[in-house]
């Protein structure tokens, strides 16, 4: 299915052939464009996208405007609140919170994007293969999937992050990347289950049967007929996966099994500040605020995308007629 419907593709209906393209009586809008327009009409979703992009930009470019780095100590400003010199205040050791926030946001965004993107691709392939082959393959793969769901991921995270046997690995791989890999391993199963059931209903459609009888290779059918049809679900799962991974990082780091010093993440900042919430409140509330500025807009975007993809949804408003 191509996303650009061309006129000669559907002459059978006899409708399109009667229209003269040059008169400009109508406009062909590609599917992508429709979805984009529907999304842009949703104000809260666009606001969410803008905030999200701003926070991401803060994570990647915020370090350029501040002279401080994450570890250097300023003896004149120890445990001080936000000021003109240290915009977000300083820690009890006298290090600059702004610089740490920049690195923390970058780490969390990277964890979210990597886990969200890779796990959704893997889940799509896994779910489609399960649905396409069915039978024994499906049974074995479903069994493996459910076993993965069953394994308590929190313990596996704890083992991998604490394990000293993997010392050599840790020297080459930074701590946050290790956490990313473990989160990735335990983040695709639910999506794969949903994709499987969706793909199963697609498999029984006539065009897939036709392709099968014509002898199109299985992987090609999966790629050409299944993946585009579950595309909207994949995008939704991608944005959901980003926030799930950011959330998981904060949760795990909060109880001490995630990102560790000298890496900074939102979780590590929130957790190190939680013991000082009464004496140094900005240390706790600023990272938490940034966390919500990341995750909140993501769920607004997710909502907007869902409405944009759903042709029956009325919450995206109506097309305004162009004035001629």
């Amino acid at each position: 299915m191509s996303s650009q419907p061309s006129l000669d593709m559907s002459p059978a209906t006899g409708i399109l052939t009667t229209v003269d393209l040059n008169k400009g009586e109508f406009e062909i809008i590609s599917k992508r464009k429709i979805i984009f327009r529907r999304f842009m009409r949703n104000r809260t979703a666009v606001a969410g996208l803008a905030i999200f992009l701003l926070v991401v930009a803060f994570g990647f470019l915020g370090g350029l405007v501040s002279p401080w780095d994450t570890t250097s100590i300023d003896p004149l400003y120890i445990s001080t609140g936000p000021s003109a010199v240290h915009w977000f205040g300083t820690t009890s050791a006298g290090t600059d919170l702004y610089a740490q926030m920049v690195e923390a946001v970058r780490t969390s965004v990277l964890i979210g994007l990597i886990v969200g993107a890779v796990s959704v691709v893997f889940a799509a392939v896994y779910g489609c293969v399960m649905a396409y082959f069915g039978g024994k393959v499906d049974k074995v793969m479903l069994f493996f999937l459910e076993t993965m769901i069953m394994a308590p991921s929190i313990l596996v995270v704890a083992i991998v992050v604490n394990g000293s046997g993997g010392e050599q690995i840790r020297q080459n791989v930074p701590g946050w990347l290790l956490l990313t890999i473990v989160l990735l391993i335990f983040n695709w199963m639910y999506t794969a289950r949903v994709i499987r059931s969706m793909a199963m209903s697609l498999i029984s459609r006539d065009y897939v049967k036709a392709a099968r009888y014509m002898g199109v290779p299985p992987m090609k059918i999966v790629w050409r007929h299944l993946v585009p049809n579950i595309g909207s679900l994949l995008v939704l799962e991608f944005t959901r996966g980003i926030s799930a991974a950011i959330l998981a990082e904060v949760s795990y780091t909060f109880i001490g099994i995630g990102v560790k010093y000298p890496n900074f993440s939102l979780g590590s900042l929130i957790s190190q500040a939680s013991s000082q919430i009464n004496t140094l409140p900005w240390m706790f509330w600023i990272p938490l605020l940034f966390f919500f500025l990341l995750v909140g807009p993501l769920s607004l975007m997710n909502d907007g995308l869902r409405d944009a993809f759903d042709p029956t949804s009325l919450s995206v408003g109506k097309v305004k007629k162009k004035k001629k």
């Binding site: 769901i149 308590p152 929190i154 596996v156 604490n162 046997g165 949760s251 099994i257 993501l298």
Partner: protein
């Protein structure tokens, strides 16, 4: 029905075996307690460390596979889950903590299912009214709230209430007060300690059930068979309760199993925040102390809880869904 549940239970047993084995092999190849021994003063010689661990059945010189088979035979023949690097028996340590955690998790699971499903039905029957928006909005808010941070904030709130009231209204750490008489006073004390953690896990867990139940009930509330029931003279509430609810509960019941891991993790976080001597806190500390056997035992426990949730889900499904009972 019994046959169906038995067959599922057998599958779950195989799954528990697989996750625990994989977890053990992972733990045995990454955790290394000998490194911690070197931080002791006076520092023991490598031979002492080796002899010490060998006597505990934690011989680091054996290959991972040999240790695995040794560990597995001990479990199957003697139900012995091995020992910790400090010499404690896993069985004893585990036995002391298992009820603390299981009671907490079970109470939280049951409460969140009941509250979640009830609120889901309530909000679906009042779609787009204020109460629906408030309840569903709360459920979506919970989705983006990291559980430990939320528990921490509840704990701060409870502490604030305590200091405002000038006396201890809520217990925010620990599981029991020292020096309480056994019997009824001890039970009241225990219940008082349970309140805050159970409350925390429950308010963070019902959202998923609420959203699912609302969604599925809305799907079937306008179905033809519900309209037929209304036409036959049932009130709207009767029609929802007797016809729509039953159908819409099937997918919710099936999803129970898959929310148990989240509640399990939530219990871990709660134990870590509220300093509860349960399985969760213990296992995190044990893994920090490079304890392979404790890690494997908790993995088995976590998988077992999932299986329990899955079997509850299967039974609930067979009760409400006649198609499962017949086939």
């Amino acid at each position: 029905m019994i046959k169906y549940v038995m067959r599922r239970a057998a599958t779950y047993l195989v799954m528990i075996f697989l996750t625990t084995s994989a977890g053990y092999l992972l733990a045995v190849s990454t955790l290394n307690p000998a490194l911690l021994e070197q931080e002791k003063i006076p520092r023991p010689s490598p031979e002492q460390v080796q002899a010490n661990f060998a006597s505990l059945g934690l011989d680091p010189s054996l290959s991972a596979w040999d240790r695995y088979t040794q560990w597995l035979t001990n479990i199957f023949l003697h139900w012995d889950w091995g020992r910790s690097p400090n010499g404690a028996y896993i069985n004893v340590e585990f036995g002391q903590r298992i009820w603390v955690s299981t009671r907490l998790y079970l109470a939280a699971v049951i409460l969140s299912i009941i509250i979640g499903v009830a609120l889901g039905v309530y909000s679906a029957a009042r779609q787009y009214k204020f109460s629906d928006r408030a309840i569903t909005g709360y459920s979506y808010l919970v989705y983006i709230l990291p559980a430990p941070v939320a528990y921490f904030l509840v704990q701060m709130g409870a502490v604030a209430i305590n200091s405002a009231a000038g006396q201890r209204v809520f217990f925010v750490t620990g599981i029991s007060s020292p020096g309480v008489e056994p019997g009824w006073p001890a039970f009241v004390d225990l219940a008082a300690h349970y309140v805050v953690p159970t409350f925390c896990i429950t308010i963070m867990s019902w959202g998923g059930f609420q959203i699912a139940q609302r969604q599925y009930l809305l799907d079937s509330i306008n179905a033809d068979f519900v309209r037929t029931a209304r036409a036959k003279g049932l009130t709207r509430n009767q029609a929802i309760r007797r016809h729509a609810l039953r159908v819409s509960f099937i997918p919710v019941a099936q999803s129970i199993a898959f929310t148990v891991p989240a509640i399990f993790a939530g219990g871990f976080f709660a134990e870590a925040i509220f300093a509860w001597p349960g399985i969760g806190l213990w296992s995190i500390q044990a893994i920090g102390a490079q304890d392979v056997n404790a890690a494997a035992a908790t993995l088995a426990y976590g998988s077992f809880l999932f299986a329990l949730g899955a079997i509850i889900a299967d039974i609930a499904t067979t009760v409400v869904d006649p198609r499962v009972r017949i086939s």
